[in-house]
Symmetry: C2
């Protein structure tokens, strides 16, 4: 008998039929003799509908009240799922985040879990019931309702799995697992049987939307045995774990890409001490995440910088750059859009010096020029023009030996909550 | 500066415009220098929509999970109302039932409030904020979410008013106050300026749907200064209080009627000891509320009984009667529908012996025969055929001097939650 955490996203429970299928899947696990804790997101469009309701009333709702509003979505899901399981003849008890003992820091909209006291979940399991927990939510020590932000239900599942020492945390989604790249772009993309936390973290950060990075961080930190699999079939899925056994000859595990990229360039920056700290400190103060930073050589006592931010932050970032101009004189600030960041990820890269060079070579052969480069021990990212992205990804996929003939992609939009 | 509890029903906040109007009304109260706690029901059809969702999945949901599901309706209301008030430039904090410190007994679907610890409400008021509490819900000592059943939001408002020692508890509804009878039946029905708790309790029990009986009981028990008034205008409404100052010459304050009546008759019951206890004990065990009970004279060692139940309970009641037949032999059990219970209510009745006789006389003059009679110190009820109900009510209204020329009825369905 093992202890399982099973997490289902909003599209997996979006209709009556899907809710019933998920219920049967959970019951199957129970009938195999396991103890089961389930984490569910809000059904289908529920969250968007609630956001729309708030927008009819205000364009600037207090974060506290948004949390109060949005957490009802998951509460509806857990109640209905518990009813469905009950209807099928099994015991189930639903729990809100606070009832499940999920305590978060005192931040609304994107709180981090600080502690879990799963007393009531253990009591439910001991009574032979399936415990069903609302994802994405928690409570502060003062009893305020909070949400965990994007990918919050993944985080709830992994954090709960760590807290109750679950044997396995299964993330059910609408794809078969983690792919070597997006199967909508590369038809014979390969489903990975196993991947390391670090590789998954890079892929997650780089735009592979199956699993939220924060959930992967939790899993790595608490060494949670994490499986990403389909809620539509019985395929094995992808195991995410500490040290992925390298498949023979595989250096690069996956290729990710992110279209949410804007490049900002600052030309002719006076080369005074602390320039970088001033510019990027001011951006950080505005909570603007900067990704790749490139500084070109200094000439005539002036330097050029460029860096990337998300498209949504582009205008705010330019505003910050304009404001620091008094302190940090420069000639000109410009921006560029219609870009994409393509990345190769693989734990084997660190010991294979030619991997990055090969990437530059493959990209250049497609006739695309590389605008920025960033590397880490297990990834290499290039910022290039957005077109022809698919051709570049396919070329890389083939060049690193990731193509396979038998991969099958189960379509549909991917869950993020 | 006074402390107000203001309660708004679901239809009062059913649309964006109505929500905004309610928000302005609350802010007006605050701007008059008062401290304000607001209780809100679920918006418009939210509760029915949630019930429909559960029905798609099961016809017999666990009561615990229904409470988990339905309490989201009020949580959505309080969050959106707090946002709306915030948008209009004032501080508001929303609270679920458990956050407001409302503790109930461990019963799902119709829990009674056992204790209120309004610490967080006081903190919000002390911080200058408007406190907005989800009606209809609470939490058991074990942290289970419960609902208070029909009329629950009225009860929340009155119980909170008692707990925080509010100066006034205002129940906002879509009528101007408590009327001498249903203005849809009697065009010149009179809005009452004042009514006693006991009279209100009788009227509430007898089908005047403006205020839930349990809320009136709470108000009477804790001597809460209760006002029923319209959310659509600034009229004074009706004050419900301990000793209503009798208006000159008014013996009967109001006329109520209830079409939700079925009469069950048991003919030829063996006159053995404890017969009544056995029959009505068995009905009580099934949670069937029995209203009027009439026993006709005993002849040949046998008695006839009749009693009334709600239409919804009629079939179950007959089943119970059938089951007790072994213990309590009888000749026959029959039922009758298409009945109505008409009642006159007034604190002055007890000292005016001719009041009931006048009622029988007025009804008989309309050509309707009286099937059952029940009296208390402040009311007299007759069960009669459902037609011609309106004629009977109008005749009684005139006979007891309740007609007025200037009454205006603000239409629309009445709130119950």
């Amino acid at each position: 008998m093992s202890l399982f955490v099973m997490k289902f996203g909003g599209s997996s429970v979006g209709t009556t039929e899907r809710m019933q299928r998920v219920a049967r899947r959970i019951i199957d696990k129970k009938l195999q003799g396991h103890r089961v804790v389930v984490v569910v997101s809000a059904m289908g469009d529920t969250t968007d509908d609630l956001i729309d309701k708030s927008k009819e009333l205000t364009d600037n709702p207090p974060a506290r009240e948004m949390d109060m509003l949005l957490t009802t979505g998951e509460q509806i899901s857990v109640a209905l799922l518990a009813m469905t399981i009950h209807k099928l003849g099994h015991e189930a008890r639903s729990f809100t985040g606070w009832q499940a003992g999920i305590v978060t820091e005192s931040v609304h909209g994107k709180a981090r879990i600080s502690e879990i006291t799963p007393t009531r979940l253990h009591a439910a399991l001991d009574a032979g019931a399936i415990a069903i927990v609302a994802g994405f939510q928690g409570m502060t020590e003062d009893g305020e309702i909070t949400t965990l932000g994007r990918g919050g239900s993944d985080t709830t599942a992994v954090a709960l799995a760590a807290a109750i020492r679950a044997d396995v945390c299964e993330i059910y989604t609408d794809v078969d697992g983690i792919y070597s790249t997006d199967p909508r772009v590369v038809a014979n993309a390969r489903k990975l049987d196993v991947i390391s936390y670090d590789e998954m973290l890079e892929l997650a950060h780089l735009g592979a939307a199956v699993l939220h990075p924060r959930a992967v961080e939790y899993a790595k930190h608490y060494n949670v045995h994490l499986v990403v699999r389909s809620s539509f079939n019985q395929n094995e899925g992808t195991l995410v774990r500490e040290e992925a056994a390298m498949e023979q000859g595989v250096v690069v595990s996956g290729i990710a890409f992110d279209k949410n990229v804007a490049r900002i360039s600052i030309v002719g920056v006076a080369d005074i001490p602390g320039v970088l700290a001033k510019i990027f400190g001011a951006l950080a103060d505005e909570s603007i995440d900067v990704d790749i930073i490139v500084q070109s050589g200094i000439s005539n006592g002036k330097a050029d910088f460029s860096f990337t931010v998300s498209l949504a932050d582009r205008a705010r970032a330019l505003g910050v750059i304009e404001r620091v101009r008094e302190e940090v004189p420069y000639d000109e600030a410009t921006f560029e859009e219609n870009l994409v960041k393509v990345s190769i990820v693989g734990a084997g890269m660190v010991s294979n010096p030619g991997v990055a060079a090969k990437m530059f070579d493959v990209i250049s052969k497609t006739g695309v020029s590389i605008k920025m480069v960033s590397t880490s021990e297990i990834k290499c990212s290039c910022v290039i023009a957005a077109e022809p992205l698919n051709e570049v990804v396919r070329a890389l996929h083939t060049a690193y030996g990731l193509d396979t003939a038998d991969a099958a992609f189960v379509g549909g939009p991917q869950d993020r909550r």
